[in-house]
């Protein structure tokens, strides 16, 4: 009994002591461990989220999804649209104290374009995806220039992409003498602290950080002062444990499933913050399927779905239906994109008759990851389809298996989530393309092909707007997929944490965040 009393007492002490020491630590939950510390190479969403606190690129996304200079002071384009000149900010230092100059930018770029590096985004810049960088130069320490083969409206956006790790500028100390990866020596507001695989990764404040200009935080640019001493990203796979961690105060910040909002909102120590994101939930069709190859049947399915009700249910009332590939808060999301499919059982029945549908079963693939509404959306859709006389059967697959089926185009219908792409053309590129070469693409249409190519070249906003409107119209007619809504980032934040806000890129940002009492 004495021993028990002692250990309980120790428990009290132990929880009290770290709490005091942890005042300057903000603890954030991640649903899976990061894959590596090598930006844009061995990565996933969590890896990008953590590493983009440590490294920065020449340009980055703003809150509204447009691209702005970050390590660059300014970006200018030559009249022919081929050469981009980046003037670098002066006085920016790496975590090892060295000043960042154009030599570092050049070194980093050459490393990325070296096939041995395995940079995820190399195909985006070597011509395989249409865009090709033909030359780079560092004429003086604070100027860097890049030349393209053809003009591109997507060049800066691609540089800023989070999955490319913002094409981050690294110091050469990041690699070992043999060229292998060691650790990120970047310019970000935080330095990499300790990484315990499977447990946590910590970041420490970079005291010599010079924030980009700006009064306020603005996406990945604007004010970026690191205010807390330490950020600890803890790996927790189980959403129920995350909830318990938030309620107990062991966690400060965590993404939570929509279902947990009502319960967590009741806690006085927690505030639930939401932000619309560019992540797209959709039902995909395989247009080469003997059954679903029939556009009438696909349109019948679309007409059978009561999207406002479906979205309302699976997002707990947070999401707004958005039938467009352009995300709902984008500058390009205008009147044209508000058109979508409407729930019309009579029309669905008429279309089914025209399509000659005779009760064949449609297999709808879904997965049960708690971070996406794949499964609940499928369940609701199944009931709605059944009401319209369409037999659908749900096949629940584990995520890697579903992704394999997706990559091979081996499905009839799939409840799927596309990761965020901020530029509309990039967004269309996620699901549009020649099916022979890219089996994962769901939409293949020569007219749309032309339009998307044009949108990648043209920089004028009004002209692009017209193109995207036309694309949306074409897409609705072809019905290769039904977009449901843009995910809403729901983050639970402890009240002691000040200044935290989720945003459209769906990634945590711990700069300009401080800890109160």
């Amino acid at each position: 009994m004495k021993r028990l009393a002692f250990s309980l007492c120790a428990a009290v002490l132990c929880t009290a002591v770290p709490a005091a020491a942890a005042a300057e630590t903000v603890t954030v939950a991640l649903n899976a461990d990061i894959r590596s510390t090598n930006p844009g190479v061995n990565r996933d969403d969590n890896t990008d989220a953590v590493i983009l606190h440590v490294v920065e690129g020449l340009v980055g996304y703003r809150e509204n999804g447009t691209v702005a200079p970050l390590l660059a002071e300014s970006v200018s384009t030559a009249a022919d649209g081929l050469t981009y000149t980046f003037k670098l900010r002066r006085g920016v230092t790496f975590h090892n104290g060295a000043e960042m100059t154009s030599a570092d930018v050049l070194w980093s770029w050459n490393r990325y374009m070296d096939p041995k590096t395995d940079w995820r985004c190399r195909p985006e810049f070597d011509g395989r995806q249409g865009l090709r960088v033909t030359g780079v130069a560092a004429p003086d320490p604070y100027t860097f220039s890049m030349t393209l083969e053809k003009p591109s409206a997507l060049f800066l956006d691609t540089l800023a992409r989070t999955d490319c790790a913002m094409t981050a500028v690294l110091h050469r100390d990041s690699v070992r003498p043999d060229g292998s990866w060691d650790r990120p020596v970047g310019t970000g507001p935080f330095r990499l602290g300790e990484w315990r695989r499977g447990e946590y990764v910590t970041l420490r404040r970079f005291d010599a950080y010079v924030s980009p200009p700006g009064e306020r935080r603005d996406g990945y640019v604007g004010a970026k002062r690191p205010l807390v001493q330490e950020v600890k990203f803890v790996t927790i796979a189980d959403a129920a444990t995350v909830k318990a961690g938030l309620l107990s105060g062991a966690l400060d910040i965590a993404d939570i499933p929509d279902d947990d909002i009502p319960e967590l909102s009741k806690s006085r120590a927690i505030e639930v913050k939401t932000a619309p994101t560019a992540t797209k939930h959709a039902f995909l069709f395989q247009t080469r399927d003997p059954l679903l190859g029939n556009v009438k049947l696909r349109q019948a399915i679309a007409a059978a779905l009561d999207l406002p009700q479906l979205v309302g249910h699976v997002s707990n009332g947070l999401g707004r239906p958005n039938g467009s590939a352009v995300y709902v808060t984008s500058a390009y999301h205008d009147e044209a994109h508000r058109r979508g499919y409407t729930h019309d059982p009579a029309r669905a029945r008429a279309l089914l008759a025209e399509a000659g549908y005779r009760g064949e079963t449609i297999r709808l693939i879904a997965n049960k990851r708690s971070s996406v509404p794949s499964y609940p959306a499928a369940v609701v859709a199944q009931a709605m389809l059944q009401a319209a006389g369409i037999r659908a059967e749900i096949e629940v697959l584990e995520w890697a298996t579903q992704l394999d089926r997706y990559t091979k185009g081996n499905f009839q219908m799939m409840s799927f989530t596309y990761s965020a792409r901020l530029d509309p053309a990039q967004s269309y590129n996620q699901f549009f393309g020649p099916k022979d070469r890219f089996p994962s693409k769901v939409w293949d249409n020569p007219k749309a092909q032309e339009l998307i190519e044009k949108a990648s070249l043209v920089a004028d906003e009004a002209e692009r707007r017209a193109i995207f409107g036309e694309l949306h119209r074409l897409m609705l007619a072809d019905a290769p997929l039904v977009f449901l809504y843009n995910a809403v980032d729901t983050t639970a934040v402890a009240r002691r944490v000040r200044g935290y806000a989720p945003w459209v890129a769906s990634k945590p940002r711990l700069w300009e965040v401080s800890v109160g009492d």
């Binding site: 249910h313 997965n367 369940v379 096949e395 995520w399």
Partner: protein, 271 residues
């Protein structure tokens, strides 16, 4: 006329109740177990829904009744599969011995050492993620334990006098096995089969929890239990009722299993 043992009585009552619920559930349920009702999400037990509703507004009682048939069917087939395959394998290897035995047992042990999750995931991927996939996957996963126990029994019996006697009397090997070896395996197999029945009900639940998707769109107790977990604080009934169903079924099966064993065990005759 002696009253049946209490374990037979209680066990019989529980299993009888289950059988009635399963049979009824296949014919009639108070509500459509698949019908969604968005206004009745996570409703507490009450007059309209006796056992409440789930996160899609589906009636829990109806789902439990519909699920009874599916769950019992899956468990029965899985256990049947494992017992049949395992017994055949156990008797065969225990009887022939030699290198055939060695090889089969090496495979058997390899399978025993395999974590069930991986086996299930692999086989589900190959067989297809449906009811029959689960039956094959779990059935295969449990076969080696059965084979091991049966083989052990056979090995210990083959030198016994009554087996020898049966042989001397000129009975065929097949007859000897069926008449004398099999009945002696019944007792250990009953214990194993009843445990297995419970494992199957739960294994499906655990696989669901780990996200390895065991997917009948129709309800089973296992997937209802796994699906209820996020709502443990808001809607405890979602987990409690399927959990209770599983518990009571297990209890019934175990008690009944004991009673059956007492009846069938040759050593118990005349006691």
């Amino acid at each position: 006329m002696k009253l049946p043992a209490p374990n037979a009585l209680i066990g019989g009552a529980l299993i009888g109740g289950l059988a009635v619920a399963a049979a009824l559930g296949a014919l009639w349920t108070p509500h459509d177990p698949l019908a969604l009702d968005f206004r009745a999400k996570l409703g507490a037990p009450g007059a309209a829904h006796l056992l409440g509703t789930d996160e899609f507004g589906r009636d829990v009682l109806s789902r439990l009744m519909a699920g009874a048939a599916t769950s019992v069917w899956i468990s029965l087939l899985t256990v049947g599969f494992a017992i049949t395959a395992g017994t055949a394998l156990g008797i065969f290897t225990g009887y022939v011995r030699g290198w055939v035995d060695r090889i089969v047992m090496a495979f058997n042990d390899a399978l025993l050492a395999f974590p069930g999750i991986l086996l299930a995931l692999g086989l589900l991927a190959v067989v297809g993620a449906n009811k029959y996939g689960i039956i094959v996957a779990l059935g295969l996963a449990y076969t080696p334990s059965v084979a091991r126990i049966v083989r052990g029994t056979v090995l210990s019996l083959r030198e016994k006098e009554f087996i020898e006697a049966s042989r001397v009397m000129g009975n065929s090997e097949l007859y000897t096995m069926a008449r004398h070896v099999l009945p002696n395996c019944v007792a250990p197999l009953t214990v194993l089969a009843t445990s297995m029945f419970g494992w199957v009900l739960l294994a499906e639940s655990a696989l669901s929890f780990l996200g390895l998707g065991v997917p009948p769109p129709a309800p089973t107790w296992g997937n209802m239990l796994a699906g209820s977990r996020p709502f443990i604080a808001q809607a405890a009934w979602l987990g409690i009722f399927p959990g209770l169903c599983i518990s009571l079924t297990l209890l019934g099966i175990n008690l009944l299993g004991d009673a059956v064993r007492d009846k069938l065990d040759p050593r118990m005759r005349g006691v």
